[in-house]
């Protein structure tokens, strides 16, 4: 009888163990139990999210893959070019060892991309830390950023954007989501599978060591409080080796002898090889004694479950590996034939001559699927009406100035330049709009395309209402793309949630998927890939539910490039949206509310049809070359939108309106579906015609300096200084 501690170490429940007994019709040996622990983990088996994932729109006229079928999702962008993209989280490893955790997070997502034969052409990331008031939090933030910088810069892949957000809910559980984008000829996408019995299974790259055993089942599937002791479960990255792997794997990717490629990520050889066999509908023979190891005395269990970094598996036609081995030798990479695909549906694991496991692949790769809906019904979101202090409703210049200058002390609102300057964003010479705008733009050489990328989320909205929060998440991702002129065509999601076996966690997951579904339908956009990181809990509370959306848009390269920055004194400023000043709920979940009232509450709303309409309209204005800048009103409200539009070119605004008595909501409210844009006065007539079907108004003009309303003005020098001053503690 297996011990409780053993099951706990593998993150398997007693009932799951019983299910294994049923499936095998015998007791699993230790190795087999390890395989089940890894493959039935959330990270590999998606047992809590599979049902929900199936409900999502994952294909469109552009998609070339089915969701979850490959290492990442692919979309066709025309001219026989495809884009492969995916987000992956490395939350738990980054909490334990920030530098290596974040570094290997980058390494992992990059391997997912080139495993499909695609050249990685961009990295983005979304980071969540607690406030920078304790040494530990500063150390985590610093370590993560240095890790991304240290690993990513070494690879020669530009890091073009992302976000960094601070909230106390990430105190014991920082989030590190990395997104990678790859480019491949549409007819040359590699699959992670073998072709026929006899195909060889070959391991390439690093030797296998004792690092990272139980990473998937242990770190990523348990409550966080228990994992602080699991230091050996975090891997150490070698970006130099990864760079060699990228080049070598891309060089062999066009060889006829190569059948399939798969990265060794979570759960190491176990997950990589067995999933390859499953996809191929073949059996598999592996000999662990053939795996190059770092230490002589490693057990088969350790070899199969090690998460040593910088390893790839390839499937190669029988007896046709020589030309591939020559290329690997050119790059000084180790490789070894460790098995072959066979008829049948079994994985047979050998240690030399001796067979040590013989298990059904179907059993290993079909964990139970949990239905969270029953559990979720036990949870009701608290409904709070927003409370607005009297002070926020009485126009008073002195008070407003005081609040504005104070909130510019928020690490969430200020420029993130000190972070992205640590990442190379110019390499590959394609970056057209650098980090710092709503999204980044790159060109694709040899085509007439620009691609636009963003990566972000808003966990406060998801905390208030995970359904509407998720809708806003997708709407804002698409809006970030649209304000640069791009037509959003694909999404990837990073789901960062608490414990799905508790009512709150289950509820937040289910509602988030509801919201995703509604938004995907309205925007007619698929979520082509993604990652789930659950059990993000510690100190008796979970993180705010944090769905992250990575979005890609496309536009023709004849389009004039604009970004958030006002360009010329004298340009008119317009705002598209129902109301410039927002609604009475605008402060719900806003930075203002969180910063001053220390709460996250109220009601949030979005009208998806209206949102879709304004995005279409802004794209049209850009396409017809009618405007000089555009940005959405989001975190920090209207006033932050204006400051950000002005600061780069040191300009100001004259708004011919008076701020209403409800100044806090008007300046700092974060109501959705509002876009600030500027344009040459001579285009006014054409703009009026173009926007005839949508609510918008002209609010003033771009001036030489200062942010002026009719009843108040703010000195821009002071605002810009605060905006650009860097974080409260250097990270």
């Amino acid at each position: 009888m297996v011990k409780e501690e053993t099951l706990k170490e593998l993150a398997l429940s007693r009932s799951e163990y019983n299910l294994i007994l049923d499936k095998l019709d015998r007791e699993p040996n230790d190795l087999e139990l390890g395989l089940f622990g890894a493959l039935w983990s959330e990270h590999c088996g998606y047992k809590h999210t599979k049902k929900l994932l199936r409900s999502i729109k994952s294909t469109s006229e552009f998609t070339l893959t089915e969701a979850g079928a490959e290492n990442a999702g692919a979309v066709n962008i025309g001219s026989n070019k495809a884009i492969v993209m995916k987000i992956e989280s490395h939350n738990h490893p980054s909490a334990v060892e920030p530098y290596e955790g974040a570094a290997t997070g980058v390494g992992g997502i990059v391997r997912d991309i080139f495993a499909m034969g695609a050249r990685p052409i961009a990295l983005l990331n979304s980071l969540r830390f607690s406030n920078l008031e304790s040494d530990r939090n500063v150390q985590i933030a610093k370590g993560v950023i240095e890790g991304i910088s240290g690993y990513g810069n070494c690879l020669g892949i530009p890091n073009i954007g992302g976000e960094c957000f601070f909230d106390e809910s990430y105190e014991s559980n920082p989030l590190v989501n990395a997104m990678c984008v790859g480019l491949v000829d549409a007819d040359k996408i590699l699959s992670a599978k073998a072709d026929r019995p006899g195909d060889l299974l070959i391991i390439i790259g690093a030797e296998t060591g004792r690092d990272g055993i139980h990473g998937a089942s242990g770190l990523a599937s348990q409550n966080f409080e228990e994992t602080i002791e699991l230091r050996s479960a975090v891997q150490v990255g070698n970006p130099f080796l990864e760079k060699l792997l990228i080049e070598a794997c891309l060089e062999i990717s066009n060889f006829n002898e190569l059948v399939g490629m798969q990265d060794c990520g979570a759960a190491g050889i176990t997950s990589a090889a067995i999933e390859m066999a499953e996809r191929s509908e073949l059996g598999l023979k592996i000999d662990v004694s053939k795996v190059p190891v770092k230490e002589d005395s490693m057990t088969p269990y350790e070899i199969m479950l090690s998460e040593s970094q910088e390893r790839m598996l390839i499937a190669v036609k029988k007896n046709q590996h020589q030309r591939i081995f020559d290329i690997l030798e050119k790059w000084d990479l180790k490789c070894s034939i460790i098995g072959e695909f066979i008829e049948g549906n079994e994985v047979q694991i050998f240690d030399g001559e001796k067979i040590i496991s013989q298990t059904s692949i179907e059993a290993l790769t079909s964990p139970p699927e949990y239905d969270l809906s029953l559990l979720s019904k036990g949870y009701k979101n608290k409904k709070n009406k927003i409370k607005i202090k009297e002070e926020y409703k009485n126009f008073d210049k002195k008070i407003i100035n005081k609040y504005l200058f104070e909130i510019l002390g928020s690490n969430n609102l200020i420029s993130k330049e000190s972070i992205y300057r640590k990442y190379d964003h110019h390499v590959q010479t394609n970056t057209v709009v650098e980090p710092g705008s709503d999204a980044a733009v790159i060109r694709i050489k040899g085509t007439d395309k620009y691609l636009i990328f963003s990566c972000d989320g808003n966990s406060r909205f998801s905390l208030i209402n995970p359904d509407v929060g998720a809708q806003i998440n997708i709407a804002e991702a698409c809006r970030n793309i649209s304000v640069l002129g791009g037509e959003p065509i694909s999404l990837t999601d990073g789901l960062n949630f608490g414990d799905p076996t508790k009512p709150k966690g289950a509820h937040e997951l289910i509602e988030t998927f509801k919201g995703f579904n509604k938004a995907c339908k309205v925007f007619e956009i698929p979520i082509i890939s993604g990652n789930a990181s659950l059990f993000n809990e510690g100190h008796n509370s979970s993180i705010n539910p944090t769905p992250i959306i990575g979005a890609m848009g496309i536009m023709n390269n004849k389009t004039k490039i604009i970004n958030k920055n006002f360009m010329n004194e004298g340009d008119y400023i317009g705002v598209i949206g129902k109301s410039l000043w927002g609604t009475e709920n605008g402060l719900s979940g806003s930075e203002f509310q969180s910063f001053f009232d220390k709460t996250i509450s109220g009601e949030i709303n979005i009208n998806l049809d209206f949102e879709e309409k304004i995005q279409k309209n802004i794209r049209n204005l850009i396409k017809n070359n009618l405007i000089n800048s555009a940005t959405d009103i989001s975190l920090g409200g209207l006033i932050m939108g204006l400051i950000k539009s002005c600061e780069k070119n040191n300009l100001g605004v004259n708004i011919d309106k008076s701020i209403p008595n409800n100044w806090a909501g008007a300046l700092f409210g974060e109501d959705q579906s509002r876009i600030i844009f500027s344009f040459d006065p001579k285009n006014e007539k054409l703009i009026k015609e173009s926007l005839s079907n949508v609510d918008w108004e002209k609010i003033g003009l771009v001036s030489k300096e200062n942010i002026k309303f009719e009843n108040i003005f703010f000195e821009s020098d002071d605002l810009f200084l605060r905006y650009n001053k860097g974080f409260s503690t250097d990270i």
Partner: protein
């Protein structure tokens, strides 16, 4: 006229350099692999940026011992033009083809941004620029802090061998425009014979206006045109 671009394991700027020289400027460029036995009759050698051999030990240190570097040293010592960009500059210093050393940035952090450089046009690599022209070229390095002993610096200055200095947009070369702590804001230097240039900024990344600047092209055009003139 043929450019050779040296590729070490870990190099990542070779394709950008190839694109800038061959695709943008139309000069034939080919790669020289670090295990190659000869230089294939190239006329001008570029050591591009990246992290050769992972930059383990010290930046550029291991590359300086690679087989192809012996050939490149011979080529350079016989007067062949060599340009080292970023990691290439570090390799040239480690190979004693240029004086001094590049140590960690003063901030101890990697830095990526557009830098303004004040150009000394008195070299084969910069003669197509105007005197004291200010050009915009990206930097991207963790170890670009140029240091050398006092005599070396004095000699470089006296012999007018500092080719690029970090500056403001208007040409002010005071300390506040120094992104990495280099002595005298030095961003690039040349050897005493004038055929070897090392620079931390990446001219190949400033090859087209659409990506922010094409100010870097002048370096490739200058050296090619001086070679054409001299037959």
């Amino acid at each position: 006229m043929k450019i050779g671009i040296a590729v070490f394991p870990g190099t990542w700027s070779e394709t950008d350099t190839h694109y800038a020289t061959q695709d943008v400027l139309g000069i034939t460029s080919e790669y020289i692999w670090h295990k190659d036995q000869n230089l294939n009759n190239v006329d001008f050698i570029i050591l591009p940026g990246g992290f050769s051999y992972g930059d383990y030990l010290r930046t550029g240190a291991i590359a300086s011992f690679s087989p192809i570097m012996e050939k490149i040293k011979e080529f350079a010592n016989s007067g062949g033009p060599v340009l080292g960009i970023c990691n290439g500059f570090q390799i040239l210093c480690e190979s004693n083809l240029l004086p001094g050393i590049l140590i960690r940035n003063k901030t101890l952090s990697f830095v990526c941004k557009n830098s303004n450089l004040k150009v000394n046009n008195n070299s084969k690599f910069t003669n197509l620029y105007k005197k004291d022209q200010i050009i915009k070229i990206p930097i991207s390095h963790g170890e670009g802090n140029y240091q050398a002993d006092k005599n070396t610096i004095n000699k470089l200055e006296e012999e007018n061998r500092v080719i690029f200095r970090y500056s403001s947009r208007s040409g002010d070369t005071s300390e506040q425009y120094n992104p990495n702590g280099s002595i005298n804001n030095i961003a690039g230097i040349i050897n005493d014979a004038g055929n070897i240039l090392g620079m931390m900024p990446h001219p190949e990344k400033a090859c087209e206006k659409i990506i922010g600047s094409d100010d870097g092209l002048g370096i490739f055009s200058s050296i090619i045109s001086s070679m054409v003139k001299n037959g």
